[in-house]
Structure formats: C-alpha cells, structure tokens
Symmetry: C2
Subunit: 486 residues, 2 copies
C-alpha cells in the first residue's frame, strides 16, 4: 500500500466537472439505477453520455458501447452498475482509459458482512491508487453537481445553489434536493459516498471548507472510520461555514441498519454529540429537520438578533398551539404592553380576537390587517422576528376566496415585505400543507410566491420553532466564541 | 341563582338530536360563520333550517325570518351570530319559543377581559336556567353530530363514527374531523364549547362515558374552571374508555393565548400532567399527535401485545432514520437471529439489502417481496407488529410504475392482509405525503385503499412511533391496574 499512498490523487474539483460520463452496466430496465442515470443526464442535457453494455446497440436513444475501451473519446467519470465480482476487471479498463473517477452504485462489498467481499473492496482501492483515479462509494448514488449538469436523478433542481451536501445514504442524497426544491434550497454539490472506500466524509468536508461555491454545508453520516481525522475536518469547516449534521444510527436499531447499510461502525452517541457541540456543528434528528434548518440559514441573513417572536395568524386554538410550540422550543413570545395592545385593537377587528401575542383576528388573510399588525409588532424592541401562520385545509373553499389567488396573495406579500423593510424585522411563514388535491394546488401556488419573494417557508410550527431554535443557538455560540456567525 | 340550580336541565342527548335549527344573525357575507352554518346544514340535508335576519327575505335559497318568534314551527336548536349586546333580548325570545339549546358563535364576552361583558355572560346563564334551555359557548363553533346531520362545517365527514370530541377551540373542533377524514376517523359527536358558560368539559365527559355511540374520547382543553369536578369526570371516563387529551396553554405564550381565547385560567402544567397520568388519560402535544393516537386506538384492536416492531421498506438511509425514530420513542426493533436472516435472504434480493431489522430490499414495492418478508418476520415471537414505510416523492414517476395503480396496490394490500392473518401480527403503514400534485394523487389513492382495507396509516415514522408508544403505554397501565384495556 505504500506505493499507493505516494501517488498523487485526482483533486475533487476535477471530479466535480467531468466532460464525459460512461454508464457501465446500463440495462433496458426502467427499474435499474444505471438507466435512471442515463435518463437523468439526458434530461439535464449533459454533453457526452456513453452507455456501456455488450448486450445493447442503443439505450434510451443513445449509442451503447460493448465496453469502456470501445468508447471513442476520453471518459472522465464512470458510473458502475455491474456485479461486484466484475469490479476489478472494470477498474483495469478504467486505468487503461485514463478516467478520473469511478462511482460504484454496485453494492454487496464490505457492508454485506462477507470477509471475501471486504477483501475485494480493499483490492479496488489499490487499483484506484495504481490507476490514478478516485472511487466514489461503492454502494451509493454518487454525484449531483448542477453546475456541471452531472446528475443522478431527474427529480432534482438543476439551478446551482450555495449548499454542499454529503450523504452516506443514496436515498437521502436524492431526497434532500428533491424534497426541498419547492422550499427554495439549491445545491453546489451533493455527494453520496456510501462505504467511503476512497473519497470519504473528512476529505469532502475539507473540500467544502475551501469551495467558494459552497456557503452552507449539510452532512448525513452513519459512521466514520477515522474519528480524529473526521473531528479535525469538522472543526476546521465549522469554524468557517455553518454545518448541519444529521447522524444516522443513534439507536440500537439505527446502528444495526447503518452497519448493514454502509458497513459503518457507529460511535457512542453521547461522545459524538458532545464533539459536535464542541466544534459548533448544528445537529438535527431527521431529514425534515435538516431541510428546516437549511431554510433558516439560507433565507434569514443575518439570523434574527434574538429569540423574540410575534406570532400572527387566524384561529384561537391554532394560536394557542402555535404559542406552546414556540416556547417549548426555547423561542420567546414577548407579552405586549397596553399601548401596543391598544394600537392593535385600533387597527384590527376586535371581536373574537387575541391581542397579546399570539395575535389572532378574524381577517388575518387580509393584506391590510397583516400589514397593520406587522408594522405595530415589528416596532416592539423585544420582538426580533414576525411569524405568520396559515393552514391550507378548509380555507379557500368557502367564503375566504382563494388565498393563492393573485388578488389575495400579491397584496399579502407586499404587506409582509413592506413591514419587514419598515421595521427591520424578518418575516417567516408556517404554512400547513393540506392533504387534498384542491388544497395542494392552493398551497403550492402560495408557497412558490412566498419563496420567490425571499421568505423562509416552514410546514409546521414545530418545525419552524425547532429549526430556528437550532440556528439561533448556533449563532449565539458563534458570538460567544468571539466571532460573528461565519 | 338558587332557583336556577333547582330547574331541571335539558339532557345533552336531546340537544344532540334537534329536529330544527334556527340561525340567528345570518348575513349575506360568505365570510360569516352563520352563513357557513346554513350552507353546511343544507349540504348535510338537515331537514328544517331557519335563517333569521330582519334584513333579508331569503338566504342561500331558504326563506329568512325577521325574528325567532316569526318561525312557524317549533325550534329545537338556535345558532347565534349577533352582537353580544343583543344576547339577553334574544334569550328572552328563545325562552318564549321553547328552544332546547342555544349556541353562541358570538364572542366578546368574558374572554374579552371586560368586567361588564363578564357580567353579561353571567346574566345569560340566569336566562338559560329560567328559560329551561342550555347554552353552548359562547365564543365557539358549537355542535357537529353526523347522525343528526347537525353540522357546523361542510368539510367534515357525515358518516357517524365512534369518536367523541370535545374542544374548547372552534378551529380544532372543525379541523380534527376534516384533517383526519382521509385517515378513516369518524365521529359520534363533536362539541366546541368555548367559554363553557353552561355546558362544560366535565358534563361532556360524563355524557361521553355513558354514550353507547362513543368508544374513544378526545378532548382539547385550555383551562378548567372547577378542577376537582373535572378530575372526577376525567377519572370516571378514563376508567371506562380511552381518553386522548390535548391540553393547550402549557407555556407562558400558550397560556396568554388561552386566556385571551376562552378566558381560561390554566393550571400548573406539572400538576395537570400528573393528574392525567394518575387517571391514565393519554396526553398529546398537538393536533397531529391527537390524530395519530386516535388512528392507533381506532384501527389497532386489540393494541399490539408489546413494543416489538419489524420495519420493512425501501432505502438504506430511510431505514436507518426509521429505526432511530422507532427506538427513540421507546419502541423496540428486535434483532433477527441467523435462521431468520437466512430465510429472508433466500426470499428477497440480496444486493444492497439490509436483513437485520430494519429490512430494506430493492424491490420492497413488490407484493411477493412484501408478503415473504412479512410472513417470515411475523413469526418471530419478539415482533409484535409489522410496519411498512414508503415515501411518495420520486416513486411512481420513473420506472417503478405507479404504486397507486391497482396492479401494484391491490396485490400489496392482499399480501399485507394475508401476512397479518397468517401471523396474527398487525400491519401499520407510514406513508410520507408528497409535496407535489402528481405525488399527491398517488398518495391519496394509496392511502384510501389502505384505510379502506382497515390499516392504520401514519404520515411520518416519528408520528407513528410516538403515537404507538403513547397508546401502548396506556394499554400497559390499564393492565397494571388489573383491568384489560377498556
């Protein structure tokens, strides 16, 4: 292995911008990952896609080559979906072809628990070092780099953004960009790295630290093979950029799954969490929470100066729920003094209303009411942000008109923008998604308009409160360290 | 007041089955509650609806009467949406007309904080006692009794069911039936009781205890005026039926909102929670959780004998997440011995799979794979239930076909039913709702089929795990008390 260690490795930057991609082991089945990649690369208009399989002349309208070596031009990146047994022979071809990176979707290596397969994995690494190329995976979905049109799924946003995401899980690597698309999140690079045979979490974190295209880093990690090295990398990047970390395998069952999934030996949860706190990484407990925290970090710039919230919306019961939900997560709803209450009552319909923060009045879908409430509340010094909440179930179907109609929505957005500018307090939205088709049309139209207008949108009060609490905690710790939030 | 106390009150059963309803203060505005009620009663085909307002000849195609006294036939129930100032005069008319119950949507009484308005409220109670009728509210949305076609919202399921719900909040009273409709929840009676001037939570709990139509009781309570009386009623009903309790106003902000909302003086959270534990009421923290627990209680009969779960679904990362989510909530994923693992490997595709509980294989949307896995796992004694999880985002759009298609779904449901019958272990589903229109169509079709087939469906692993944990804890405490679950 000593020879390998001295070989100069291909820098990740080159791997993230291949000029051509070969997909080896592409099949004619729409259920197969390799064909999904070819389809997705086509959708993304990637310039040079080479399907490889001796069985086919053509795949999805593209010429299919019998082997890697039959491809006429140079090949930078190879996506592999062939049986594990054929991996070493393919890597010899990769070396001969002079490729820069090989991504193995193929699983059934170390994570299978089979000693022979674990040995095979080690031999693959030797081949990579000797051949002068890098390996992504095995057992993962590989790379998604919007700027390079390098994609592994068609259902992901192609506009480049500022979030870098590394994920030991392929599912999460595809789901995060897909699920968060309508919330306005966009990505610089997403790397699913599976068993982390070669390119691993530590190298990727160091890369993102220096990557000018990446401002926020998200990571899904099941286990790390070199703890001290990982902690060093995490500390270095967290000192410079916000890092949102989702550690899978925190329970016995999760750990078992993680080991079966990516051969990860997870460390003690308590130790891991303590180390993350020490370097000021933001920890989350699932994918929804990760999305929520990323939305907060991406849209609230700078983050609010404190935990004071004015809560504005319709409904007494929902207001009680929202107030409870906020304070349970450590945010604070400052009570309003008599002067502010009187001013609210002058400007809003009184009957059935609540004027003590949370604020509830019967016409809280009316732009002028929203505007009046936000202007008044935004001037209260203890209030650091304005949260507007709305459910999308029955509303819009009777009487209220459609909140998603331009005549409702445009003035509401103008009112919120105006209040934010006048008071310097940011506006956040909690829009409860519906569970019916009509409501979903409403919801999507409204969400799109709010996100386009630059507002952070959350899907539950609990989610908004929890993620905001995490982001504010991170920012407070940055300040305690004597540095502004990076 | 002594005279009032001796007056025989109208029993609630009579109030829940009125033959005619007058809606006083109906307006021509679709934004007004009173017109929503008239519309909803019409949609529900309630037999005798009398809009009352001297300004109109006709409302929504129905003859509108100048006053209550002008209505020709008898009036059992009156819905009121007139200014608080006119309340006493109206109650005199109610007495003259011989009505049984008056529901005040009208707010602006005790909850307004105004002493004069609080006095007015007390006078209303005197009128009710003297007039021999009951008051619901004020400041609430009143009654929803499917069997009587007595409704306060058109967006609620009209088929009667076995859940009784009392809610101090009108919003929650309308939202719970609406939000949980597609999950298969149906209601015997829903009572929004607002300021609880006359009919209050304690009387309602005593009523539901003896109501043969009500098997499960849900309650949203902001504050109780007579603590010992409430605790007595709660203890009596909880000894006989499962009670799911959502206490609003647990934080400072929530308490403030609750006071402004229904004039509730909330008690100490710690004391309230301890008392609920003492009587074995099931406490939840929001409406979603309440729905989840009700789904568990309604569909899992009897509840699983223990916390052992076999988790089956597609995706490594999602499996890790699901395993963590389960055990974090106190459920248990028993590890599988070598014999069971070998049996699974013989029956499922091996590559990329996890066979150690959670179970993940690449074709987990295939009925025969689902069937094989469930039959094998259902025979493991430490496994008490089978949980299947599926996301509805990218699935269905590429390759996998539509999971909601009958050709996919029907065999899957047959497989699950067959496994449940063969092994005696119940099947639960965690179906992640999508955030797009296409996915929503998929999701709704699949959810409907599963719910119709009698399966409990949850929308997140966290929700499934938390509610199941609460239901199992309740059932365990029932057993400790020496009684089977009521």
């Amino acid at each position: 292995m000593s020879a390998c260690q001295t070989t100069k490795r291909v820098p990740l930057d080159e791997i993230f911008s291949p000029r051509s991609v070969a997909v080896v082991g592409v099949s004619a089945s729409k259920l197969a990952f390799a064909e999904l990649v070819v389809h997705s690369l086509k959708v993304a208009k990637f310039p040079a896609i080479y399907p490889v399989n001796p069985k086919y002349q053509e795949v999805l309208g593209l010429r299919c080559y019998p082997s890697l070596l039959d491809i006429p031009g140079p090949v930078d990146h190879v996506v592999v979906n062939i049986p594990a047994e054929s991996a070493l022979a393919l890597l010899d071809e990769c070396a001969a072809k002079g490729v820069k990176s090989v991504h193995f979707f193929t699983a059934g290596f170390g994570e299978s628990g089979d000693a022979e397969r674990a040995r095979l994995e080690k031999q693959m690494l030797v081949k990579a070092r000797e051949g002068g190329f890098r390996i992504i995976g095995p057992n993962c979905v590989g790379l998604f780099v919007p700027k390079s049109r390098l994609v592994n799924h068609y259902d992901v946003p192609l506009e480049p953004g500022s979030i870098g995401f590394i994920s030991q899980s392929g599912g999460h690597a595809q789901n995060l960009p897909s699920y968060s698309r309508a919330r306005g999140l966009r990505f610089s690079k997403v790397v699913s790295y599976g068993n982390a045979l070669d390119v691993d979490e530590s190298e990727l974190l160091d890369y993102f630290r220096d990557d000018p295209e990446t401002e926020i880093v998200a990571a899904y990690i099941e286990g790390v093979k070199d703890g001290p090295r990982f902690l060093g990398a995490l500390g270095r990047i967290a000192a410079r950029k916000p890092v949102v970390l989702y550690k899978g395998g925190k329970t016995e069952a999760g750990r078992r799954a993680a080991h079966g999934h990516t051969a990860s030996l997870t460390t003690s949860v308590a130790i891991f969490e303590a180390l993350c706190r020490q370097v000021n990484a933001i920890q989350v407990d699932d994918l929804e929470e990760m999305i929520d925290v990323l939305v907060a970090l991406r849209f609230l710039r700078p983050l609010p100066a404190g935990p004071g919230v004015a809560l504005i919306g319709a409904g007494g019961g929902p207001s009680v729920l929202a107030g409870d939900g906020m304070e349970r997560e450590g945010l604070r709803l400052p009570p309003l003094d008599a002067v502010v209450q009187a001013e609210l009552k002058q400007n809003l319909p009184v009957a059935g209303g609540i004027f003590i923060n949370p604020i509830d009045t019967t016409n809280m879908t009316d732009a002028s009411a929203i505007s009046a409430a936000m202007h008044i509340l935004g001037r209260v010094p203890e209030i650091h942000m304005l949260v507007y909440h709305l459910g999308f179930h029955p509303i819009g179907s009777w009487g209220m008109g459609r909140f998603s109609a331009k005549s409702f929505l445009d003035p509401a957005i103008r009112a919120m923008k105006g209040a934010a500018e006048a008071t310097g307090k940011q506006v956040l939205l909690a829009l409860r998604p519906p569970e019916d088709l009509e409501g979903m049309k409403e919801f999507l139209a409204a969400q799109e308009a709010f996100v386009e207008a630059g507002f952070p949108v959350f899907h539950s009060m609990r989610g908004l409160a929890r993620s905001l609490s995490r982001a504010l905690g991170w920012s407070r710790r940055c300040a305690l360290r004597g540095s502004a939030a990076p």
